[in-house]
């Protein structure tokens, strides 16, 4: 027999689907089946059941082999590494709960480190643009119920956010959108003919790296000025046509992804896209939303913002928060040899960073906290496996539209495994001892563990 846990939050992408059903064994130790999730989400749940899962910390030896160590030893090693570093980089945070993030940030403040999350190679440029010009945004629910023109700019949700189209943006029938996808116009802007592009009513396949020019051309078109014959490889007639569709929307939205945030211009592309949205609000109601990747990268920005005032790349080395992407961002710190220890939790820079940065991590004292074996854990001196957040332990997560949800525990973690929050609390307490200062007003380890 088996029991079914309903309304489970999927801890994979920023869409944060909240309608999953997970069948677990009666004793609550095994996941048998996952319903409603996309292939990636289901795999995340099922992967926690892998037979070869690492359940104890392991230290890399001189010869590259691993030696199992206790959690106590791992905590001591991590605390010593962080406390002795002049400027440790504490990177990741996007695949863990807000509770764990806040404890991690306390450690960073105590040791004088840098906290950076995956936005640094993802939507960090969007955050820069938002700080520069603001953002007119809305929730995904509003899009489901109201949007009749949906723009996907430089993103491919068919593959990266598989249930986004069916749950929120294109297919669902909402309160004012009773015809579902038949009542919606879908505009896709991408240099490649992606699977999302193939579904589009208007597909603008632009010249690579010319998003800024095309966005600017749309703004010129909104103002009734003339344009050059071709902008970004698109004829001016098509740009005027697209501008008319956008202006005549009842409620429109622009979703944007890595195609604009990490190509030429970066934050400027988003800046211009936000200004397009602002301009469109002269004619109709328009919103813009970032297609955030990791399920809780938005939460990481929210927690960092709450604690230090900046959403990523926060340098606490001199006892006050500084933020300047280009200087305090992980890759710049690694490239310029400005950090002397690396702590990674809830992300995989080994897979996502340029190889030059990965080599730098491999040469530094490093700790990776991750339930999986990843390229990062392979190059780190110490790998600390932890329970899966959203599967084996609950916690607060933020959806891509900045709405918080409480993820659920559906199954017990393997015997004796620690959670992110427990491990971080122990490290925080030990770092506090080493640095001779107890963090003020923070709950003790015992309270966090509920003991």
């Amino acid at each position: 027999m088996a029991k079914t846990v309903t309304d489970v939050i999927c801890p994979f992408c920023g869409t944060l689907c909240d309608d999953l059903e997970v069948q677990v064994s009666d004793d609550g130790t095994k996941i048998l089946e996952v319903y409603n999730a996309c292939a990636i989400g289901a795999e995340k749940f099922l992967h926690s059941q892998a037979k070869d899962r690492i359940t104890r910390p392991r230290m890399q030896q001189e010869d590259g082999s691993y030696k199992e160590v206790s959690y106590d030893d791992a905590i001591e090693y991590t605390a010593q590494m962080l406390a002795n570093a002049k400027k440790p980089l504490m990177y990741g945070w996007s695949s863990t709960s807000c509770e764990a993030q806040s404890v991690g940030h306390e450690i960073a403040e105590t040791v004088g480190g840098v906290v950076d999350n995956t936005a640094t190679v993802c939507h960090g440029s969007s955050l820069i643009a938002i700080q520069d010009v603001g953002i007119p945004s809305c929730t995904l629910g509003e899009i489901k119920n109201r949007a009749d023109v949906v723009v996907f700019w430089g993103c491919n949700p068919s593959h990266a956010h598989p249930r986004h189209l069916s749950r929120y943006s294109i297919f669902p029938r909402g309160f004012f959108t009773g015809k579902g996808h038949k009542g919606r116009k879908m505009i896709v802007v991408d240099p490649r003919n992606t699977d999302t592009m193939k579904m589009a009513d208007i597909g603008l396949q632009l010249e690579q790296g010319r998003d800024y020019e095309l966005l600017s051309a749309l703004r010129v078109a909104f103002r009734g000025e003339d344009l050059p014959d071709v902008v970004a490889g698109i004829s001016k007639e098509r740009i005027f046509e697209a501008a008319e569709v956008l202006k005549n929307a009842r409620f429109g939205v622009i979703f944007f992804g890595m195609g604009v945030t990490q190509t030429l211009g970066k934050n400027h592309n988003i800046d211009e896209a936000i200004m397009v949205t602002k301009d469109l609000n002269e004619f109709t109601k328009f919103s813009i939303i970032a297609m955030r990747g990791h399920y809780n990268v938005t939460g990481s920005g929210a927690v960092l913002g709450w604690q230090f005032g900046f959403p990523f790349a926060t340098d606490l080395s001199r006892g006050f928060a500084r933020y300047n992407p280009g200087e305090t961002t992980s890759n710049d710190l690694l490239r310029r040899d400005e950090v002397d220890a690396v702590f990674v939790l809830g992300s995989d820079p080994g897979a996502h960073f340029p190889i030059s940065s990965v080599r730098k991590i491999a040469r530094l004292p490093s700790v990776a906290v991750d339930p999986h074996i990843t390229p990062t854990t392979e190059i780190s001196k110490l790998h600390v496996p932890v329970a899966f957040v959203g599967v084996e332990v609950g916690g607060c997560c933020y959806r891509m539209d900045n709405g918080p949800s409480e993820s659920r525990k559906v199954v017990e973690p393997p015997e004796g495994m620690m959670t992110d929050a427990e491990f971080l609390s122990r490290v925080r307490d030990r770092v506090g001892e080493l640095k001779g200062k107890a963090p003020v007003g923070s709950p003790s380890t015992a309270q966090v563990q509920g003991a």
Partner: protein, 300 residues
């Protein structure tokens, strides 16, 4: 004018933050007091004397003080930050934030400087003999007030985002500039004697950009008005005036919108298409070169 010489004696293991190297910080102090000034590496504080050999004597006021920084300071940040008077000479390459938020005095950097030089600058003169990084004369993150006054001259090339949110002062670049020059500019003047890449004057509200070389891709929101004779860096020349960015907001005077001004060399008919073709050909060549197998490697 009195001179203090700071000679770096050991390279920092990571980098050094040395904002206490301005004439303002050193003026009126004894050499021992100067040696005790703080510098920072990560979360640790050191003294200026631990990293620098200090000689000479400062003047009584910042205006009377000349600071000469010798040795390799390519890992030393904040040189000349918030300086208000006097003179700073950097003999070699310097790291980020040279002359950031400076309000007066002169800085001469004889080598290259990294990014964020002249960030939020309000006055004074900053001369860079080598190349400069990104964000020269720009706003600090989140600030809408970039460079507001003073003059920056770069003899070499500059990176991207020159004059971001600039609203006063003048930047002269004798070499080439990377993308995004004068983005969000609301005033000030940028002269580029070399070539520029794309996004020149994007989202420009007001201000002036003069480009004497070529531009890879023009922003769509600039329209040609007329040819004008103007003075560029002391030289009179006739250039074509374009106004824009037409997609951006513009205030009006007597009912007429005030645009940002972009001056380019007059183009002959048909040259635009030829330039585009040449650019695409260059890009194809570059791509081919990038994917070509390295010489001497066996084909696997």
């Amino acid at each position: 004018m009195e001179t203090v010489t700071l000679t770096i004696k050991k390279a920092p293991t990571l980098y050094l933050e040395a904002e206490a190297t301005t004439p303002d910080a050193l003026a009126g102090k004894s050499l021992d007091q100067i040696r005790a000034l703080p510098v920072y590496m990560g979360n640790e504080e050191f003294t200026l004397g631990e990293f620098f050999e200090i000689a000479g004597a400062p003047g009584a006021t910042a205006a009377d003080t000349r600071v000469v920084v010798k040795g390799d300071v390519s890992r030393v940040k904040y040189l000349g930050m918030k300086m208000s008077a006097g003179e700073l000479v950097i003999e070699s390459n310097a790291d980020m934030y040279v002359g950031a938020w400076m309000t007066g005095g002169t800085i001469t950097a004889k080598g290259n400087v990294d990014s964020f030089a002249g960030t939020g600058m309000k006055g004074g003169e900053l001369t860079i003999m080598g190349n400069a990084g990104n964000y020269i004369g720009s706003a600090y993150r989140g600030d809408w007030r970039g460079m507001q006054g003073g003059r920056i001259r770069v003899k070499g090339n500059v990176g991207s985002d020159t004059g971001y949110f600039m609203n006063g002062g003048e930047i002269v670049i004798e070499g080439n500039a990377d993308v995004h020059v004068g983005t969000h500019a609301e005033g000030g003047k940028i002269v580029i004697k070399g070539n520029a890449k794309s996004r020149l004057g994007g989202q420009m509200v007001e201000g002036t950009i003069v480009l004497l070389g070529t531009v890879d891709v023009m922003m769509p929101g600039f329209k040609y008005v007329r040819d004008e004779e103007i003075e560029v860096d002391g030289e009179k020349m006739t250039l074509s005036l374009y106004v824009g960015d037409l997609g951006e907001r513009h205030r009006k005077r007597k009912g007429e919108p005030i645009y940002g001004k972009l001056y380019l060399r007059p183009v002959k008919a048909g040259e635009d298409a030829a330039a585009r073709e040449a650019r695409l050909a260059r890009a194809r060549e570059a791509k081919k070169a990038r994917f070509a197998p390295p010489e001497g490697s066996a084909s696997a």
